[in-house]
């Protein structure tokens, strides 16, 4: 494994943190075209450092988990934009074929999601504070104050996405390489554990989302049969 200096680490992390900023901004503030979904953000992050396939793999695993945390209104949910980018970079940044790459990337992405979820609450409180500061102007319908409040919120959210990605990668990327280097479980069983966890969360989420629809259970079984048949035919 090549030796990571602080300079080379910063040089690698800075541009990818911009991707984290864009993906983090997309989650709520602008433009919500779902660049923030882990399937997209992790794949883009993987592509950013030359291994889109690795990014897609961790992106698919995280997407299964993200089915559970949909952005309903004022509820507190994981912010997958920056978390997906961190997961994609960590996955694609490991040596090819490393047994611990997938579980460690997933662990790092989920840990980042906890942190980024809190950072969103912080930004929302900051927005409320800004709205209070501009209250007098807003109450008399100042167009400048309306635009200013909106731009402040957008800017702060972008800074949040950048900071979360940058800090998470700065701390967790070198740590992840050390953990992967001493990983003690073989690749197949490591992947099986990750997949079992992701599939459990996804199946629970799908059940929650679909069980009220008529015949959804039977339709799931029908799909399961078709999927199993396809698998056996492969």
């Amino acid at each position: 494994m090549c030796k990571l200096t602080l300079e080379s680490l910063l040089f690698a992390i800075l541009p990818v943190s911009l991707l984290g900023a864009v993906a983090g901004l997309d989650m709520v503030s602008f433009p919500q075209i779902m660049l923030s979904r882990p399937l997209v953000s992790a794949t883009l992050a993987g592509a950013f450092i030359g291994r889109p396939g690795a990014g897609l793999l961790i992106g698919a695993v995280l997407e299964l988990i993200a089915l559970e945390t949909l952005p309903f209104g004022a509820s507190r949910y994981a912010e997958w934009g920056s978390a997906g980018v961190v997961g994609g970079v960590v996955m694609a940044g490991q040596p090819i074929g490393a047994a611990g790459a997938l579980p460690v990337a997933m662990f790092v992405a989920l840990a980042t999601a906890v942190f980024s979820s809190r950072s969103m609450v912080w930004v929302r409180n900051w927005n409320a504070h800004q709205a209070r500061r501009l209250r007098t102007e807003l109450d008399v319908g100042s167009p400048t104050a309306v635009d200013s409040l909106q731009l402040r919120g957008l800017t702060m959210d972008m800074i949040r996405g950048f900071s979360v990605t940058f800090i998470a990668l700065l701390i967790l990327f070198p740590l992840s390489r050390r953990i992967v280097a001493i990983w003690g479980v073989d690749a197949v069983h490591s992947r099986a554990v990750v997949t079992a966890l992701a599939a459990t969360v996804a199946a629970g989420a799908i059940w929650t989302l679909t069980h009220r629809a008529a015949r959804a259970g039977w339709l799931f079984v029908l799909g399961l049969g078709a999927g199993t048949a396809l698998l056996l035919l492969q």
Binding site: D139, P143, A199, A202, A203, L230
Partner: protein, 261 residues
Amino acid sequence: MTNPQSTQRARNEVGTPAPVSSWAVGASFLRLFAVQGSWNYETMIGNGIAFCMKPLLRGLPEERYRAALARQGRYFNAHPYLAGIAVGSLARGELDGEDPVRIDRYRTALCGPLGSVGDQLVWAGWLPLCSLMALTAFALGAGPLVVVCIFLGAYNAGHIALRAWGLRVGLRRGMRVAPALSNPLFRDGPAVLARVSAVLAGLILPLALQRIIGPGRVLAGGVAVVAVVGAVILARFGARATGWRAALALLSIFVLYSVAH
């Protein structure tokens, strides 16, 4: 495109239905993508509504323009993709010189339906379905570019169409948008999307497991059984949105075990 001078004259006459220029509608539509830019727990997307409405109201006389912006910047909540309905219909009300008290009452009444209808159709229906479509492509062996394009293409076709429809309907119908919200798409759409998602979820489960884990049907079968049992436990005992935190806790133990091993 409407003549700006005639637009201005029409706007200056209180109570006269005012035409809106294509430029203003376009600018308002683009601003809709940033409607949640200053989202907060006190006014929610209130300021975002005023921000999106600004181009539509710009031709009003100064006093009415500022009064309208002040009114529209107060608390408001709606699904972001359906906020265009609110922006269009409330702007139409302001341009047509409706009674401010009536606008306020209508504004309050609009919050609930636009939130719940959008949540059910988009967050609980369209988004998971598009995720599952992309995951199906992944499970069947598609590459990164194809998977990402399927997801972004399908999702945003629906997303952008919904935003554009909302703004158009709002501007056209003004403060009489209730019939538009009883559209069969909103009434029956979530259930149809849920049924399609159920089929896709069943289809991808074995295929995706196989692709992630790699060769080994017995192991994939074992993982599938664990997933089904775990999902039943989560659905029965877990509160909403806690499964991923439980997954993080279990994964932490596995990482520690593997490092210590």
